[in-house]
């Protein structure tokens, strides 16, 4: 019996209802790991400790370089990671939880963190490095296009072969 069967008995604010029917997967809740998009701690990751209202949350990041603070939800981007902590957890306990969950490592492994690192590296390239990148892109494009051309020619050959016996047949008929 899936959740859809229980629709009438469910509150529309039930988290699982929302997940099923509205497609939202990441919720603002105690333990949600979020990325700070704006402000002094821009680029850092923190954990939501308490929800204050629809716009603000209490946030903390003990080993992540974020002091315990109230921050607007507009400055946060929620991630998939969720720590199992009670709301209002103290900084020390949170630090232990972060360490237990190995959060720093997990976030570093996420493709989104890797993308950020790549963006940062790209921004730091100096003139010669940019030139090297351009050369490598050209080489890659050359190899790719070579393969594509081969595939095309093979396809064209196949089409020709198929056309030839057809022609032979049609020429034989009259």
């Amino acid at each position: 019996m899936c959740i859809r069967d229980r629709v009438s008995t469910q509150s529309t604010w039930d988290i699982n209802y929302i997940r099923e029917f509205m497609g939202f997967k990441r919720f603002v809740q105690a333990g949600r790991v979020a990325y700070i998009n704006y402000g002094v701690d821009h680029g850092k990751v923190c954990v939501i400790v308490e929800v204050i209202n629809s716009t603000r949350v209490l946030v903390d990041g003990p080993t992540l370089g974020v002091p315990r603070q109230v921050i607007s939800l507009r400055r946060l981007a929620l991630t998939d990671h969720l720590l199992k902590v009670a709301k209002g957890i103290h900084t020390k306990s949170l630090e232990a939880e972060i360490k237990k969950a190995d959060l720093v490592k997990k976030i570093g492994e996420s493709s989104w963190a890797k993308k950020l690192a790549a963006q940062k590296r790209r921004a730091e390239l100096n003139d010669f490095e940019r030139f090297q990148v351009m050369m490598l892109k050209r080489q890659k494009a050359y190899l790719v296009n070579k393969d594509v051309a081969q595939a095309h020619s093979k396809g064209a050959k196949k089409a020709k072969k198929a056309a030839k016996p057809k022609e032979a047949k049609s020429s034989q008929q009259p």
């Binding site: 921004a123 730091e124 100096n126 003139d127 010669f128 030139f131 050369m135």
Partner: protein, 196 residues
């Protein structure tokens, strides 16, 4: 004499005008700036990162966009650069260092031979032609003598470039041969040339 007492004026109040020179120019002559203090002219401030062998991007002039190698600062305050000539067509040339974009890339400074130190601002002085009279100019051969680049300068170019070319790998040569341009998505204020 003036009877000062008669005029009722004190003698000490009278100033007598005396002509100092026979000829005075109509307007004040313009004098070149001269330091009032005896302080000597300061040497050109060295720019951070501008060391021998550093690749620079030329920002203006005939060779704008070209990537050249910086050799040394000349006493006049200009920078001595070379292409090298065989790589990108930039000869030994003086350039205003303000129009050189210094990059982080540097060729081995050992490749910049001592020859570069022998080049001075005088090397670039224009050869003075003998003053021709008006009539001579009129009858001068219209098929003018082809301007020949002095072979000594060619030799000098070769001497300086040869050790550099020996050190450059093919990618580096291609890099120096390519002009710098801005492309789509490139924001000049965000581009990094040197992480200072």
């Amino acid at each position: 004499g003036i009877n000062a007492e008669y005029m009722g004026i004190q003698f000490s109040q009278i100033r007598i005008m005396v002509k100092k020179f026979k000829w005075y120019p109509a307007e004040d002559e313009k004098k070149p700036f001269q330091r009032k203090s005896k302080a000597k002219k300061k040497p050109v401030a060295t720019r951070k990162g501008l060391n021998p062998g550093v690749v620079c991007i030329v920002l203006s002039g005939r060779f704008r966009g070209k990537r050249v190698l910086f050799l040394r600062m000349l006493p006049s305050g200009l920078a001595l650069v070379t292409g090298p000539y065989k790589v990108n067509g930039v000869p030994l040339r003086r350039m205003n260092p303000a129009y050189l974009l210094v990059t982080k890339t540097q060729v081995k400074p050992e490749a910049i031979s001592k020859e570069a130190d022998t080049i001075d601002d005088k090397y670039f002085a224009k050869a003075k032609e003998a003053k021709k009279k008006e009539e001579e100019k009129l009858f001068a051969d219209t098929a003018a003598k082809a301007k020949v680049f002095p072979p000594e300068k060619k030799e000098k170019q070769g001497k300086i470039d040869q050790p550099i070319l020996a050190v450059l790998d093919p990618l580096m040569k291609k890099y120096l041969a390519t002009r710098f341009t801005l492309r789509n998505g490139m924001k000049p204020h965000e581009l990094v040339f040197q992480l200072l």
